[in-house]
Subunit: 134 residues, 2 copies
């Protein structure tokens, strides 16, 4: 692990989450690749344009101030590839309170970390996936 | 990107998926870290023991032969950190046919790639997350 790179990735994710809370659409996209792959809650999204549009729905019909706060953020960073995991409590959107899991994949390009992948999910509510082990 | 490392990670994930189809419990765990973090469909799991037990439920009450087949596998590998994404069609378990999304995070330790993170999810069926953009 490279401590400096880990710190840079951590700061990038915290900055991105703060941009979401601030409804700063440019800030949300600032460190993202043109061809990123996002596994969103309901669908798979490829490219910065479709990624940007997922935030239209996210910010529509808010129930209150948006809060999007990561916790348990863990970063694994090499010299030029990194991934990160965290849990996020999201409040204020039309969906109500959402507890989600996020995995982020990043590459360093021209000494700048860039997000090339995001995997957002909520724990499933479908009974077919709930065994006694859970 | 490092082509050789990318190939090694790709082969690891294909080997792991084949072990699932073969119900080879030792093979499923062979390349996994003792303290891996798994975002499973319904819950968060930490450690190889709890990870192993998630497969008890997976393999219980099968409806037919298990098939667990990745497609659109994309690997981003540096010298010692990598992540991978794929879509998986899973057949034969008690849950019926499942189309899932998988992100895998890996570190290279003593020249061996080790899975330290898996994020499994199914597209949500909750209407609160389905906007016109999807």
């Amino acid at each position: 692990m490279m401590a400096t790179e880990e710190t840079r990735v951590r700061q990038l994710i915290e900055r991105w989450a703060a941009a979401i809370s601030a409804q700063d659409r440019a800030g949300i996209l600032a460190d993202h690749s043109d061809d990123l792959l996002m596994f969103d809650f309901p669908s798979t999204v490829r490219g910065i344009g479709p990624y940007d549009r997922t935030w239209d729905f996210f910010f529509a019909d808010p129930k209150g101030p948006i809060r999007f706060v990561p916790r348990e953020l863990e970063v694994t960073a090499g010299a030029d590839v990194a991934f990160a995991t965290c849990l996020i409590r999201c409040e204020g959107t039309s969906a109500g309170v959402v507890e989600l899991r996020l995995t982020t994949g990043l590459c360093k390009i021209d000494d700048k970390w860039v997000v090339t992948h995001e995997h957002h999910s909520v724990p499933t509510v479908e009974s077919r996936f709930k065994g006694p082990a859970h």
